[in-house]
Symmetry: C2
Subunit: 162 residues, 2 copies
């Protein structure tokens, strides 16, 4: 069970968009160039973010993407679910109902115990992702990325932002 | 990101094998019939359990599977990893290294912050699964399954166990 590469791409793009000044947009071309990614595939990841309402889009020569919410209100889970969907990672097909010993009128009062345990683990994963915002990520990166690289990247992005 | 159906099948099979008396084995045929599953596909899930060392196998007419460890020493994570593998659900392709602003001699001291956060969430998921044993599951099921169905199922299984 592996997440799509688009999850990684979408998180990195959101981290860059989180640093854009108010009202500015960054194109798919610039985001693809900055991350060394194929523009056509990256645009699908960005469309997923747009469809989930996480980014605003403008068309035209200076068009592109910017975050639709403040980085403090956008979590890792928002981004992961925009790309992967909100469905639980464990699907219960209720195979206990195939047990040949079950009376035909047997009715289960609660979901299968196996499914409940798997869903609790799924929820623990989501809870962790829900607890980290893009603002938290920006804080970590500002501590870890060298000042020169941070400044150069910011200027590179601003030069290309519409 | 959805787990394979074999995870569900393997967990249900282990739950049944956990109830087998010492030294008895249950065949793929019986496990498939009990769960209403296609024998050929189920045998792949059982082979995964065998390759991971979670079950013992015997060949021959009375052959089949039994748990290789006590149910108290076998966790949900063991079963999930036997089927899905131990690889993390998030793969970091280190795309930050493609940043055109990076000096060519730039060296990162630690893994990408995005990957670290995704791996922490993956670990929270595994931690939950590591915390539940087949013995815990048996305890829950013994409370929830009606006494008649519990007894009938046990007898059905014993009738077919080698």
């Amino acid at each position: 069970m592996i997440l799509k590469s688009q999850v990684e791409w979408a998180l990195h793009c959101c981290a860059i968009l989180a640093g854009l000044p108010e009202g500015r947009y960054l194109s798919t071309k610039a985001l693809a160039e900055f991350h060394g990614l194929p523009k056509e595939y990256l645009s699908k990841a960005l469309q997923s973010l747009s469809q989930a309402g996480l980014v605003h889009t403008t068309l035209g020569p200076s068009g592109g993407y910017r975050l639709a919410r403040s980085p403090a209100e956008l979590t890792f889970l928002d981004v992961v679910e925009a790309v992967e969907g909100k469905a639980r990672t464990f699907v219960c097909n209720n195979i206990r109902a195939n047990n040949p010993c079950r009376p035909t009128d047997h009715c289960d009062s609660s979901p299968c115990a196996i499914a409940r345990i798997m869903w609790e683990a799924d929820e623990a994963w989501r809870q962790k992702l829900r607890g980290v915002t893009l603002s938290d990520l920006g804080h970590i990166l500002s501590q870890e990325v060298s000042p020169a690289l941070w400044k150069n990247s910011f200027e590179w992005v601003l030069d290309r932002a519409g």
